[in-house]
Symmetry: C2
Subunit: 161 residues, 2 copies
């Protein structure tokens, strides 16, 4: 089904998409954040083919985003729970949702995330923990990290010129 792989790409965005970038995968993760854990619930809510859902769940479990946990013995039944690695995708999901609310949906946001204390919709901003300032394209530049290949280093040098 997938035409190629991003493996070997020296890029954390590609590495992330290698795990969660297949069609449907991030929606499965989103449903997990909304509390859905069982195959039948996910299948019904997403309206996805059962074999596709099976494949996506298997990939997410293989990469440790979800874990498959028994909840019943007879007959044996399993549910899918977010791991710490999976829960760490929350900012990704919220960022995708915020962009869609602003730029992609026609009739206003289908749902709001509201702060449990204030009851007001959250307004997500990505800030730098060190400076407290919003992270904006104009305020940052890309430099090689410890995992940079020579090709990445060369590429970033051309970008600096």
């Amino acid at each position: 089904m997938r035409r190629t792989s991003f493996k070997g790409t020296n890029c954390s965005v590609a590495a992330t998409l290698e795990i969660v970038g297949e069609w449907w995968s991030l929606l499965v993760v989103r449903e997990a954040f909304l509390g859905l854990r069982r195959f039948e619930q996910l299948q019904e809510r997403l309206g996805i083919a059962r074999n596709v859902l099976t494949t996506r769940l298997r990939t997410l479990v293989a990469h440790g985003v979800l874990e498959r946990v028994p909840y019943q013995d007879r007959p044996p039944r399993f549910e899918y729970r977010l791991t710490d690695k999976g829960r760490a995708l929350f900012p990704v999901i919220v960022s995708l949702m915020a962009w869609g609310d602003r730029w992609a949906v026609q009739c206003g946001p289908p749902l709001h995330l509201v702060d449990r204390e204030t009851g007001k919709p959250v307004e997500p901003v990505l800030i730098d923990r060190r400076t407290g300032r919003a992270i904006e394209l104009s305020g940052v530049r890309a430099v090689p990290g410890p995992g940079a290949t020579p090709a990445t280093r060369r590429f970033l040098r051309t970008r600096e010129e």
Copy 2:
């Protein structure tokens, strides 16, 4: 190539992925943030089939994420620039990258985004502009927004129980 569509799904994450969720699309956007604008540059750097890149660029232009701008008359040549809508994807890309840096790459981050003033790598945190606090799963709940369908309202009620 795509097996189905998320159109009709009452969800901003799905609406976003409908636009940028195809395999390769977010990597094209990422390269655009790194300053690449021309077909040949993108094709070389991503190592992607030319017909796939053509299709992805066409979709991104059709949705107003990129615009196709002439930069030369004879022969006519075009480049692809991020629009405001495209630049608004920066938090999505940074969130995907941060997750990959932490959870998906093997040998450390391939690149760091550093603050232009301090020269230090940024540490992205998603906060609520209203409260200044980090947005965490445990601190929010989902409620219907103005664009909620009856099915979404019913679904969210079952989640509250």
